[in-house]
Symmetry: C3
Subunit: 273 residues, 3 copies
């Protein structure tokens, strides 16, 4: 079924508006191209609504937010909602500062998101309305392990019911859920956390999958999450002894570029709960 999601993405080549941080923006642009979509980055409020309107999807990432870009996020998000375009939220570092938590909560109040993707700390922060996050990575104590999986599924379903969004919690096992159904995805490799921005890249790619598969946000998000994890596995196998996280970064994007619907279908490892 993930096969169709990627086939549609490659066939439809949607244009994706990204308002994202300057740390990982280049990788986000390249992975959006790799998966078959086209990126445009534009964060000035004067053009935000117009750029959103010519795109098919919007990706909002608060990784290096400031007062100027927060306003742009709101403008673009409202316009995307009016146009019924899918909108993805990546609440990077929610819980790490009041500004990030408040901004993420404000975005949640004012914009209808199609998919919200974060680590467990970030999603807990949003679900509880407050939180404490160690920087931009998940708290060690909070990582999604097999043991914590049941709890993560419940959290994701409940938060999906509350927001109407598909919730994607990424970690050792990824959980992608709407109010009723959760995909527990076991693709990926631990070394992915040594590459900055694999989460940001996944969020950008999720917007592309969602834009190419209108009305099917749960399957689209699950396919994106699985594709990213599978790319991490494929890329890891290519690594030589002297390779490290920088080469790994390149190989992950390369693996998305070379991903076929068939490879994704075969390599996807998940159960539905």
């Amino acid at each position: 079924m993930f096969r169709d999601m990627l086939e549609n993405l490659r066939a439809r080549n949607p244009l994706i508006h990204n308002i994202t941080n300057y740390v990982t923006v280049n990788d986000c642009a390249n992975i959006v191209l790799a998966c078959g979509a086209s990126p445009i980055m534009a964060d000035d409020k004067e053009e935000a609504a117009e750029i959103t309107a010519i795109c098919s999807g919007l990706n909002i990432n608060i990784g290096t937010l400031n007062s100027r870009t927060v306003e742009t996020m709101l403008i673009a998000g409202r316009r995307a909602n009016e146009l019924h375009h899918p909108v993805v939220l990546d609440p990077v570092g929610a819980g790490a500062s009041k500004l990030r938590t408040d901004t993420a909560l404000r975005l949640l109040r004012e914009i209808d998101f199609t998919v919200i993707r974060g680590n467990i700390s970030e999603i807990k922060t949003l679900a509880c309305g407050s939180g404490s996050t160690k920087g931009v990575d998940a708290d060690a104590a909070d990582k999604v392990t097999e043991d914590a999986l049941d709890e993560a599924v419940s959290l994701a379903k409940a938060f999906a019911a509350k927001t109407g969004a598909v919730i994607a919690i990424t970690g050792a096992v990824d959980v992608v859920a709407d109010a009723d159904t959760a995909y527990c995805i076991r693709n990926g490799h631990a070394m992915m956390s040594s590459v900055t921005g694999t989460g940001c890249q996944l969020s950008a790619m999720t917007a592309a999958f969602a834009a190419a598969n209108p009305g099917r946000p749960l399957e689209a998000a699950a396919a994106a999450v699985s594709a990213m994890g599978l790319a991490g596995e494929i890329a890891y196998k290519r690594l030589g002894e002297a390779d490290g996280n920088s080469t790994y970064r390149n190989y992950i994007i390369d693996a998305i570029y070379n991903m076929t619907p068939e490879k994704l279908e075969e390599g996807a490892s998940y159960e539905v709960r």
Copy 2:
């Protein structure tokens, strides 16, 4: 003849001031280093004139413009004009929003550009004073193919005559023209459009070629365009089965780093009209 252009660039090592977008800025810096120049990025209005003054060339790219940086572009552009430094304009996404179109047109009115480099959609927008662009990539209908080549040559020459700038329209075939002469360049590879910012990189490198070859902007721009395309060809040949757009990005910059005047002279594929 392109041989001399690159020889001069390697010998003179010009310092290039870039006011450019945060998406592809790292690649721009690395390709400027690769071709033999040195980059400096500075976008605050308080230092713009001073930084421009210690440089030999200026590259203005509106890829992620905002009100703060547009003002800086104007200040730096005026100072470069006073000092008779070459100035390159990359009107990324002109036609995609009113802000981008208006900004590009304002820059055109207030600054004398040495070279303007864009895809056919962007250049048409500037030439007509309005336009509609699909994001930051050329409209499919507008791509420079052999069939559309005559029209692109006419457009480039006419717009060059109007602005006094060399016009570089990049696409399947690249056209680089002043009012009288057009180079139609057949270097490059289709996969280059899967790498974000190859156009931005080319614009930054064009500023370096122009700065190292004062008084010869047409040949300098044509050499830069040909070098970029040739690098795309060389890099493509290096790709293995598992490589994708991220490795390709690295190999293109590597190929510029290893480009010699002789390789460029031999590999350049163009006709003059």
Copy 3:
């Protein structure tokens, strides 16, 4: 002895707050991950103090400063001082514009830095209170060669005595000194200057080494400088004929990822003066 510094870094995994330029920020994040720490980038004044407080070290880099981010640097720096966190300054381009020189001097007046890392031109500018720098690279005439080494050692010790900071002057030979002791480090490769941001990366990594080794800033900074240079040597040996500065960039970060305390101890090449 450098062995311990890296062992502590890998064991303690400090979180590092970076306020840095948008040109090289992605590489800074990846090298911080590669060396065993975690990065967070945050440059809005509203969250700066809070983000600094959850981190163990702060890295301030003025590479693309503007009025908004300079204020953030001051707020974060003061908070880090209150918390006795190590703070690194990278005065990119000090001497190249009044804004950069004035900002670096203001930061020096208002914040106690643990380590200041720059090229000889930048450090001279700070030590003299004025200067002229060719862009962001060291003046050719000022490069640290064997001949100029004695002078660089004297400068570093004197400036360290004046500021209370460890001074790291990087060039052909690197000098890392406090008021009494200087490490003259002979690791590195000339090709590193063809990669944008190796200095920025080193500064970010220095903050990580310093945060993981409290009370030992001289040894921590010397270990970071030596590790970066050694990574440049290791990466250079991996290069094939077609590789250039972009692949070299990846291999340098890879080499940091694969650096072991033993490799660093064996590969470090320095004398103490």
